[in-house]
Every structure is written in C-alpha cells, then in structure tokens.
C-alpha cells in the first residue's frame, strides 16, 4: 500500500521527467510565451484606465442631474439696489429663526411691476407675482431632515461670516446650476464639487465632517497644531477638552444631540 506521500513523490517525479523531455524546445517556446502575458498586461491597463474614467469621470456625471433655478437671480444687482445689504432679504426673525430664501411677499415689495428689460424679470412678474405663486427656488445648502442647524447660534453668537459656509454668493451675477444627487436627492453642494472629497475653501462642502472640522479647530485643539497641513479631524483622539460646554460638537461623545433631531 502506498501512502499519500509516496503518491505525491511519484507525481513530482513524473513532472520532472516531462520537464526534461521538453527542454530542447524550451528556447523557442519562451519567445511565444511572451505573447499571452503581453495581452494580459494590456488588458489590465485598459481595464484599469476604463474603471478610472468611469469612477472619476462618468459616474459623477451620471450621479448628478442638472437643474436650473426657475429664475436666474443676479445677486450683485440686488445688493446694489437694497439698503441694508444681505440682511434686507436674509434676516433673522424675532423668534431667532432664519428667513433663508425670501418669500414672494418680500420680492413683491419692489417687483410689483416689471422693471428693466431683463427677460427673467418679465418671467418672474408674469408667472409668479401676477399669479401669487411662490418661486420654487432650489436650495443649494439644504440639509437632510435629521439635521438641526441654528443660524443665529453661528452668526450672532459665534460671530461667523456667511461666506465661511456659503461662499461669496453675494458677488454672483447668475444663479449657478443646481446639481441634484439622483440617489439621495441632496444638492451637490453638500458633498462638494471635488469627487475625491478634497476642498480648498471652507465653503466647498457642507458635510458633517466640515462642521466638525471647524468646531474642533476653534475650540478643542491647542494653537500649536492649528497650522498643520492636514485637516484637524485627522488628529488622533481624544482632543483636549474645551473650556465651554456650549461647543462640544463632535468632540464629546454626548454631543450628537446638538445637531441631530
């Protein structure tokens, strides 16, 4: 009776025999062997390139649908015309809530009749003012239902500038295209333009990490690491505890409830 080991030896011995018998033609075959390997590498490179193009170029394009605002709004023109600057339209109500995108009633104060020759102006008065319909503005910065955000806590109490999060919208002459994520339904301004998730300005993205980054930078981390070339959220935890109980968002464990509802 032969054991398994014996069998294995026999097989390997046969393999050696075969290899020896093939040796005279070895040199010729090696040249031909290069052929399939070349194809494999070529196929890999093509596949790799294709997946890169699909992943970084085509998919992001397919993922977001492009929508136009109902009216092309010129911020520069309006800021010059109103008296109190941004706050003429974007103001805090008495109960501390933020007005956000103005309602039709506010626009009507000036736009009861067509002013100037802009076709957008005519469209606005005809379709919305005359009919008393609210303009279905698309809100670039609209957050999910589960997010509670207090503008007054940041602007009045935190003394933050609007453009830190919203960018220099007041300097725009046209409404930019609204890109909607086809799967989630959220604006692309939340995830950011850069598909890799890199950002150059504070207003490039509006994800939870971006809120957290600012909160951590301002409250939790000693000054010595504020000049790091990478986001502060990459720093190992635990962060240094802030002095105030007000701003512990993303720093203390029990802080989720501050922004989630």
């Amino acid at each position: 009776m032969s054991t398994l080991d014996d069998k294995a030896k026999e097989v390997s011995a046969e393999a050696v025999d075969e290899a020896e018998t093939e040796s005279p033609t070895e040199v010729n075959e090696k040249k031909q062997d290069n052929g399939p390997w070349g194809y494999i590498i070529l196929f890999f490179i093509i596949g790799f390139a294709a997946s890169l193009v699909i992943g970084w170029g085509i998919f992001p394009k397919v993922l977001y649908s492009q929508k136009k605002q109902p009216i092309d709004f010129n911020h520069v023109l309006h800021v010059a015309a109103v008296e109190e600057g941004c706050e003429s339209c974007h103001f805090f109500r008495e109960d501390g809530s933020f007005s956000g995108v103005p309602k039709l009633a506010q626009c009507v104060e000036c736009h009861e009749e067509v002013q100037g020759e802009d076709p957008n102006e005519a469209k606005f008065v005809e379709e919305y003012v005359a009919k008393g319909r609210e303009v279905p503005w698309l809100v670039y910065s609209k957050q999910p239902d589960c997010v509670f955000f207090s503008h007054i806590a940041h602007v009045n109490m935190g003394k933050m500038e609007c453009d830190t999060c919203h960018g220099h919208i007041g300097e725009s002459t046209h409404s930019k295209v609204y890109e909607e994520n086809r799967i989630t339904g959220y604006s692309r301004d939340i995830w950011g333009k850069n598909i890799a998730g890199l950002k150059k300005n504070t207003w490039d993205r509006m994800k939870m990490d971006d809120c957290a980054e600012c909160h951590a930078e301002n409250k939790a981390v000693p000054k010595t690491v504020e000049t790091l070339p990478w986001p502060i959220s990459w720093m190992p935890r635990p962060y240094e505890k802030p002095a105030s109980s007000q701003v512990r968002v993303q720093i203390d464990k029990d802080a989720c409830f501050v922004c989630h509802k």
């Binding site: 999910p144 509670f148 933050m160 029990d254």
Partner: protein, 271 residues
C-alpha cells in the same frame, strides 16, 4: 469667537407628575404623538408593536367595591441619569445612538445612528422605547401637518420620548435673538405639559431651586436625586436608574405601586 463662550450652567431637565390630579384623559398622549410625528397604523389593537412615546397606565389597588381605587399613571421616557449618565439604555447601545447629554440631562436618540439591535429596549426597565417595525405611513394629506422640527423615523430604528428636545433648540434660538444664553422656565416646556388640562404635569430644571419641579419634588441631588418630598416617588427607585420623572401622590398604595417589594417588606423594617 473663543472669548464669547462663557460657561453655561448644566441643566437637569425633569418632570413632576401629580397623580392625584391626573384624570387619565389622554391629552398628553395625543399632544405627544402630534408634536413628535409619532407614526401610527390603521389597526392599533396589537399594543406590542404600537408606538407611544408617552403612555398612560391604569393602576388599581385590587380591593373590592367600597375600597376600590384607581390611578392613572402617564409614563414618558424617564431620562435616567443612573450614576454619572450611565442610563441602562445608554450603557448597552453598541452604536452610541443613544447618549446621556450632560448639558441638559436628556437621553438622546439619534435615529440615523441607530441600527435597530434593540438592546436598549431590553435594557429599559420602563418600556419607554419603541421599535419601528414599518416605515411610517400617514393618511392622505396628513403629511402637511407634520412638525418640520422633528425628523420622522424610518423602519428599523428605535425611538423614544426626547422631552421635546426640538423645543429646547427653538427656545435657545429665541434666547440668542435676544442675546441671552440662559433659558427662562416657561420658554422650554414639553408638549404634554402644556396639553394637560388638569395641570398635573410640571416641567423644568431640577438643578434650579427656583423652578417649580424642584420645589415640588425637592430632589436630593447629592444622593442620586432621591425626592425629599414624602409624597414624591420615582418608578423602580430601587434599581438605581436615577430617573428624572417624579410622581406625586398622597395615596400610599400608589406610591408603593411605583416599585417592587417582597411581601411584608415594609413591616420587616420596623423590627
């Protein structure tokens, strides 16, 4: 920005419910459900899977006709503090979806973090937590009457009473508009408190000696918040959950019904 943030006193929001005043009318339950977008089904006969953040239970003293007595007991989430915030549900949550907020003393529930393992439901001795077995379906047109301040929950997550936390956030906003950081007592009140026609529910900060809840329950904050008012009691006090909902009753059998006792336990203590 940094200098602006002065230390704000930590709050311990709590509730005192006077059971002698409660008529069991259910206004608080209705107010709670509409305030917090609590989902309901066409057929709510199976109470095991219906959701009621605030639920009224009926107690009887079990005696025959002349001595028979009943008591209705509304049960919101007790917002247990345990010891240093170790509420029964908080310590078992594997997702940190529920947590004890030291700023307000409210036990949070973050629906987007919850993945529905229901450990917290098993841990909660008060049955105050509910699981969403279905996505909420509202009758036609009712979606328009939902509160925009409370996010609706999806299938597969646990939910519970939050002491109307969104009202706290809105009250904070209003205070900020006036340049204040501290809230007044009447600025933050839960929906059930305001809905109770008998005025049985009182809500406020248990750390603040000027608030009505403190005066009613007289909590001994150094000893796990035990009430010093002899008529006040908490549900399952012996478990050490340190709940922030106090009940008042002048009837002894009601106070005894708030906890479990061995037979003749009270009598043994006198020996």
């Amino acid at each position: 920005m940094k200098e602006e943030h002065k230390h704000v006193k930590t709050k311990k929001y709590g509730m005192v419910i006077d059971l002698d005043k409660c008529t069991g009318c259910g206004s608080c339950m209705v107010a709670c459900m509409s305030e917090n977008n609590v989902p309901f089904k066409k057929d709510e006969t199976n109470k095991l899977d219906s959701i009621t953040w605030l639920r009224i239970y009926k107690l009887t003293n079990g005696k025959k006709f002349p001595e028979t007595d009943i008591c209705y007991i509304p049960r919101p989430c007790m917002q247990c503090e345990g010891e240093h915030g170790h509420a029964p549900c908080v310590s078992v949550c594997p997702a940190t979806a529920t947590d004890y907020n030291h700023e307000t003393g409210i036990v949070s529930q973050i629906y987007t973090r919850c993945f529905g393992c229901r450990y917290c439901m098993a841990a909660c001795p008060y049955h105050a937590r509910y699981f969403n077995w279905w996505d909420p379906v509202w009758p036609d047109g009712m979606e328009k009457s939902l509160s925009p301040n409370v996010s609706p929950r999806m299938r597969g997550v646990v939910e519970k009473c939050s002491f109307c936390f969104h009202r706290y956030q809105l009250a904070k906003n209003k205070a900020y508009a006036q340049g204040r950081r501290e809230l007044k007592e009447d600025e933050y009140q839960t929906a059930c408190t305001q809905a109770c026609p008998a005025g049985a529910i009182t809500f406020g900060d248990l750390n603040n000696h000027n608030h009505a809840v403190y005066k009613l329950a007289k909590p001994d904050n150094k000893h796990g918040g035990r009430p010093r008012n002899p008529n006040a009691f908490r549900l399952l006090e012996k478990l050490g959950t340190n709940p922030k909902v106090y009940y008042l009753s002048t009837r002894e059998w009601v106070r005894r019904a708030g906890d479990n006792y061995i037979k003749d336990e009270g009598k043994l203590e006198h020996h």
